[in-house]
């Protein structure tokens, strides 16, 4: 092998060349510049604030500051900001904020009736996933919990059970908990958010009384329901956070109606996607809250070892 090939390959892998790097720098720049400009006690080296807490506070406030900067920057120039750029910036700020912790409430309705629902809370690598679905297949109220790399579940009639490390468990569904959790982390980490908002076209802007802005447009189903899989032997496509995409949403090229609600602080509050007709109308919404401020889930103290099932 040519000796230089290995180093050329190494240099081509430099993260600076990756998509999203410029956005990371841009977000960091806005946040830190504003933080320093504001002073806010930063220049006081004698602070009694614990170091770790200071770092956490800085991290938590950086994005809020970035959002404030972004919001303020539009005040002086109303109408000059392109909707696409606004959605992109909101996605960047939201995704970065969601990286540490947050809560997402996912709802799917079919003809106005709740079809499926999930609430996901995350904090670092820890996750709590609760099914809020109606009583379909007996799964309503079920929990999946990952704390310190250990998976916990709720067994009907037994309460919390220690299921072990996610990567070691195969429930026979074709997707292991580890893969499922990896996809949830991808969804909450902003990859899906950026892809979805980045693919929206024909954006229309509507201001709400509370200062929020709704950006609506169309997005190809394939950008929303990107994951493919099998269920009951049939190919399916999966919406973010693991729900099956039905009807048009299963066709990657189908245009779906999407609306992104961005708060006055420039953080995305909700993504709503709708498709279908009056005979079969679907709505999929993801509502974000507590970004950067959601508490870590706690391991259930009364969880029993799984092996107790087979004494």
């Amino acid at each position: 092998m040519n000796t230089s090939r290995s180093f050329e390959a190494l240099r081509r892998s430099n993260p600076r060349a990756k998509a999203g790097f410029a956005e990371s720098v841009e977000a960091a720049a806005a946040a830190i510049q504003a933080r320093v400009a504001a002073g806010a006690g930063v220049s006081d080296p004698q602070t009694s604030f614990p170091r770790r807490r200071l770092i956490g506070v800085v991290a938590a406030t950086l994005l809020a500051v970035a959002a404030a900067v972004a919001a303020l920057s539009t005040i002086g120039s109303p109408g000059t900001e392109d909707a696409t750029a606004a959605v992109k910036r909101a996605a960047t700020v939201t995704a970065a904020s969601a990286e540490r912790s947050g809560t997402a409430v996912v709802r799917i309705t079919h003809n106005g009736e709740l079809w499926a629902g999930t609430t996901i809370r995350w904090h670092g690598a820890d996750l709590a996933v609760r099914s809020d679905a109606p009583q379909r297949r007996g799964r309503a109220g079920s929990w999946l919990l990952v704390v310190d790399g250990i998976l916990y579940g709720v067994e009907p009639g037994r309460g919390w059970v220690v299921l072990g490390k996610p990567e070691n468990i195969d429930p026979g569904s074709g997707t292991t908990p580890d893969e499922y959790l990896a996809s949830v982390r991808e969804d909450v980490g902003g990859v899906t958010l950026r892809r979805t908002t980045g693919g929206m076209t024909g954006l229309q802007k509507r201001s709400l009384d509370d200062g929020s802005t709704v950006y609506s447009g169309t997005v190809a189903a394939g950008l929303i329901a990107r994951e493919a899989g099998l269920k009951g032997g049939q190919p399916i496509r999966v919406l973010p956070f693991g729900n099956v995409a039905h009807d048009e949403a299963a066709d990657p090229s189908a245009p779906l109606q999407a609306a992104v609600t961005v708060g006055a602080d420039n953080v995305i509050r909700e993504i709503a996607v709708t498709w279908g007709s009056n005979a079969s109308a679907w709505a999929y919404t993801v509502t974000y809250s507590g970004l950067g401020a959601t508490a870590a889930p706690i391991a259930p103290a009364n969880a029993r070892p799984l092996r107790e099932r087979w004494p």
Binding site: R11, S13, F21, S24, A28, Q33, V58
Partner: protein, 182 residues
């Protein structure tokens, strides 16, 4: 230094070197949020110590050295996640290598010792000279030069071996199994 001068100097420092520090913290930190914390801490430290900061290219080296200490502190204060950090450090920089060559690069880097990986990437990704690397690592330039030489040699050996194996076996991206539904 007046407040205005401090602000101007900090702005210039940030405009010039923020992308370097974001990149460095990206591949050195376990997660994107840790990287974000680290970048913030580095520049907040720079703001506090602006009067002590060297000028010119030496400021860049100072920022790298500070970032290295900040990340080391993060790791010490975050022992609970230590094992995960080791596993994810490179994944955090580029979560999903999109092509076989990059997969090989990341696997080769993963197989290097952390000291080799650090010195190699300071040179190849951050573009630091051996003398600058020595300042960041707090060692003699001759030591940095020796470490870099050995790291380069090891990387080349591992990369070539992985490439040879990859040419013999079809590369299978782990995602393929999931998307194929198997």
């Amino acid at each position: 230094m007046s407040d205005g001068e401090r602000k101007r100097r900090f702005d210039a420092l940030f405009a010039t070197y923020s992308s370097d520090i974001v990149a460095y913290c990206g591949w050195r930190s376990a997660t994107a949020s840790d990287a974000q914390d680290a970048v913030a801490e580095v520049f907040l430290t720079a703001w506090r110590r602006l009067d002590e900061l060297p000028g010119g290219e030496a400021a860049r080296v100072w920022l790298y050295a500070t970032a290295r200490k900040v990340i080391a502190n993060q790791r010490r204060s975050n022992r609970r996640r230590k094992a995960l950090e080791d596993r994810l450090t490179l994944e955090a920089a580029v979560p999903r290598p999109p092509d076989p060559e990059e997969t090989l690069v990341h696997e080769a880097l993963r197989r290097l010792g952390s000291a080799d990986r650090e010195v190699l990437l300071l040179a190849e990704w951050e573009g630091l000279s051996p003398a600058q690397i020595a300042s960041v690592l707090g060692c003699l330039p001759v030591t940095a030069r020796g470490r870099l030489h050995r790291a380069r040699r090891r990387f080349r050996t591992v990369f070539e071996e992985l490439s040879r194996v990859a040419n013999e076996l079809p590369v299978r991206h782990p995602r393929a199994a999931v998307e194929g539904g198997s």
